[in-house]
């Protein structure tokens, strides 16, 4: 066995000092993530953390795993690309409610549908923190503190849990930044669960939503004996959820997305086809049936190859 050093949570933090406001919930998310990585005992270079843009999306710089600070709203698309190119990596995407549900809302739906084996840490403070306090899709319609919407948005907020369930998410947990140990446990569970998992973190913005300090009193652990495992069951159970239920709320069993793998055709395959075509009286299995575009096994034959075969049988 290889003698790999045991990494502590601290080893998963970089030496860059976060520039979040003192008291920001995102500090605890960083702590929880580092703890989760230590618990998973994976080498740093086997983890990739991809974010969008926002205060929350600064996360990768503060960890010591592979990190990429992407475009606003595109973390999930980018993370899926990383995972498809390197299925061996543990891929984590992270970002805020604006990043993931506003400008990147479409990717949220399709990531749930596609079910690539990766974990999304959605740091929800119901505000665009980085651009100084505008309403996000999770903001209550009557929140009037934003200078952009001084009379409130007047439009109904999105419930990430219900949205994710409706789009076919495979795992959904909710944690609170004020409880980093519990949050670390949820992150580990999400990473270990095959397919796409969402860790929805209530992470207060103490600067633009000081009232979120009271979330400590609002959060409550799910009283269900076990997570829901069927989409319909979860939708019924959480139809009237107050948004503060924490724990693993849904754990489905859809198989993770596997890109269709086509057998690569070798020269021997082509030779065999050629032989069959020459011997066969029946054109139905002959190469005269070859045409441009993806073939049965998804192999696209170059025009020259088709001409070669078709001429050979002519």
């Amino acid at each position: 066995m290889l003698d790999t050093p045991v990494l502590t949570a601290q080893d998963f933090k970089s030496d860059i000092k976060p520039i979040w406001c003192p008291g920001c919930g995102d500090y605890s998310v960083l702590t929880a993530l580092a703890k989760a990585c230590a618990e998973l005992a994976r080498p740093r270079e086997s983890i990739a953390l991809i974010s969008g843009i926002g205060c929350s999306s600064r996360l990768p710089a503060y960890t010591s795993v592979y990190g990429f600070h992407g475009l606003h709203g595109r973390a999930l698309a980018l993370a899926a690309g990383v995972k498809l190119a390197r299925p061996d990596l543990t891929v984590i995407a992270a970002g805020g409610d604006g990043d993931g549900l506003s400008i990147g809302g479409n990717h949220f739906l399709h990531a749930c549908r596609r079910n690539v084996d990766m974990t999304y840490i959605l740091m929800d403070n119901q505000v665009y923190g980085m651009t100084k306090g505008q309403a996000s899709p999770t903001t209550a319609p009557d929140w009037c503190e934003s200078k952009l919407t001084p009379e409130g948005t007047g439009i109904s907020p999105v419930a990430p849990l219900l949205l994710a369930l409706a789009a076919g998410v495979n795992f959904f947990a909710r944690g609170f930044a004020g409880n980093p140990n519990d949050l670390a446990r949820l992150i580990v569970a999400g990473i270990n669960h095959p397919g796409f998992s969402i860790i929805h973190v209530l992470s207060p913005c103490v600067t633009f939503r000081a009232e979120q300090r009271a979330w400590k009193q609002a959060v409550h652990a799910s009283d269900a004996a076990a997570p829901a495992t069927l989409q319909t069951e979860a939708l019924t159970r959480f139809a009237a959820d107050d948004g503060f239920t924490t724990g693993i709320l849904f754990a489905g069993s859809k198989p993770p997305f596997m890109p269709p793998r086509h057998a690569v055709r070798t020269a021997a395959d082509f030779e065999r086809d050629y032989e069959i075509a020459c011997k066969s009286d029946s054109p139905s299995i002959g190469v005269s049936h070859l045409s441009a575009g993806p073939g049965r096994r998804g192999v696209t034959l170059p025009k020259s190859a088709i001409d070669l075969f078709n001429n050979a049988t002519a």
Binding site: I53, S102, I103, G105, T131, Q134, K147, L148, T149
Partner: protein, 411 residues
């Protein structure tokens, strides 16, 4: 004077918001981004306070912002939005369709440098990247000019001989947040100046003339392509017409407001100048100070400031450049592949009209919000003077990078 309602001290973002409010748009759509955010927050305050009667749509991203405004404009509304850097990039798909649709929109670009590397600071790489999309581009030097240009932009955009969208550019950080004295024109002056709203006479929802806008123009056959070319030609005509319209509108605004701005190109101390710096945007103030200092020291330098960048005022630039024997062009963006700044590249194109191949130096500075100080311009003047003695073909084919690590060394 009653053409001014009040005098305030405000930053360029607030000045833009005042210009918009006075122009009475019907629909404003936004997505916040640094350094634009406060601009639209001022507008939403005007709306909340009942001072501006407009719909403000707070949508989920810039792609939706401009799409929503295209809908509003097609339905006959006067529209406004503002964005910066990455926001403009995300807006690109509807952005490139707007000129072809001949929608007379006005939008502020609060200029920001482009990623990567990550950067939230000022720079003009955002606008320079879209310079050939078909929008009119004007660049402001002061908060007052921002306010006045926003108002003028509506009259230019909606002019029947133009009918093109206008971007009013103001530099992020220096203009967006820098405060100065600003005169607010009175509402009746602006109302009279803009006249009756007739934003979209060519494609507005009209019960007498229902039509499907922008169906497929035709196949790749000769007729389809020819029709497509006809649209392109008409867009080019609108752009070229804009040169005269912009000039006329500035003259009319001077009468209405009492304030004069050069419409296309501003010539500063160019009479008897040996060399000139070419500038664009907020850097021009520091360049003029450096020129004043140089003049005091007996150096015959001047400034050519580009106000209108699209349509590019080829004749006006050639005329101004024709007065000097060497140019130093200062850009806050890069033209990759030309290894110089975009303004420098275009000025060289205009120089061809003069038939004189004078030395032109490219200076690139003010990237990522870096300050372009009087000292930078003083050194640029010095380097341009030295180039006087150098034949153009012997000049280094590389830009002089200001604010670089080795900035002490001017090659």
């Amino acid at each position: 004077m009653n053409n001014i309602s009040r005098i305030v001290v405000c930053d360029g973002n607030e000045a833009a918001a005042w210009g918009v409010k006075l122009s009475r748009p019907d629909v404003v759509a936004v997505y916040p981004i640094t350094p634009q955010s406060s601009l639209v927050e001022y507008l939403s305050k005007f709306i909340a306070d009942g001072e501006l009667d407009a719909e403000l749509m707070n949508v989920e991203g810039e792609h939706s912002v401009l799409s929503a405004l295209q809908g509003a404009c097609l339905a006959g509304a006067r529209t406004y939005t503002a964005t910066s850097g990455p926001g403009l990039a995300f807006m690109f798909e509807p952005y490139v369709r707007t000129p072809g649709l001949r929608l007379p929109m006005v939008a502020s670009l609060v200029n920001r440098d482009m990623l990567s590397p990550q950067c939230v600071w000022g720079g003009q790489q955002d606008v320079m990247t879209v310079r050939d999309a078909g929008w009119i581009h004007m660049f402001c030097e002061s908060a007052q000019e921002v306010l006045d240009t926003v108002i003028m932009a509506y009259r230019i955009a909606e002019h029947p001989e133009v009918m093109l969208p206008v971007n009013v550019n103001h530099d992020g950080n220096y203009l967006s947040y820098g405060v100065s004295r600003v005169e607010i024109p009175s509402q009746p002056v602006v109302d009279a100046f803009l006249g009756d709203k007739n934003v979209n006479w060519h494609a507005a929802l009209d019960p007498d003339r229902p039509m499907a806008v922008d169906p497929l123009t035709g196949g790749a056959d000769a007729e389809g392509a020819a029709r497509f070319v006809a649209y392109r030609q008409s867009l080019c005509r609108g752009m070229q017409n804009a040169l005269e319209v912009i000039t006329d509108v500035h003259a009319a605004w001077r009468c209405a407001s009492g304030r004069a701005f050069a419409p296309l190109v501003e010539e500063y101390r160019l009479e008897d100048a040996e060399i000139a710096l070419v500038t664009i945007g907020s850097m021009s103030g520091a360049a003029k100070d450096a020129v004043d200092a140089a003049r005091a020291a007996g150096i015959a330098a001047g400034v050519i400031r580009i106000k209108t960048f699209r349509p590019f005022p080829v004749e006006a630039v050639a005329r101004a450049a024709g007065k000097v024997r060497a140019l130093g062009v200062v850009d806050r963006a890069v033209s990759y592949g030309w290894n110089c700044g975009p303004v420098c590249q275009e000025v060289q194109g205009a120089l061809y009209r003069t038939g004189r191949a004078i030395p032109v130096l490219s200076f690139i500075g003010g990237l990522a919000g870096a300050d372009l100080t009087g000292a930078h311009f003083t050194r640029a003047i010095e380097a341009t003077r030295q180039a006087l003695a150098t034949p153009p073909e012997a000049l280094a084919p590389a830009p002089v990078w200001l604010n670089a690590r080795d900035e002490g060394v001017l090659r």
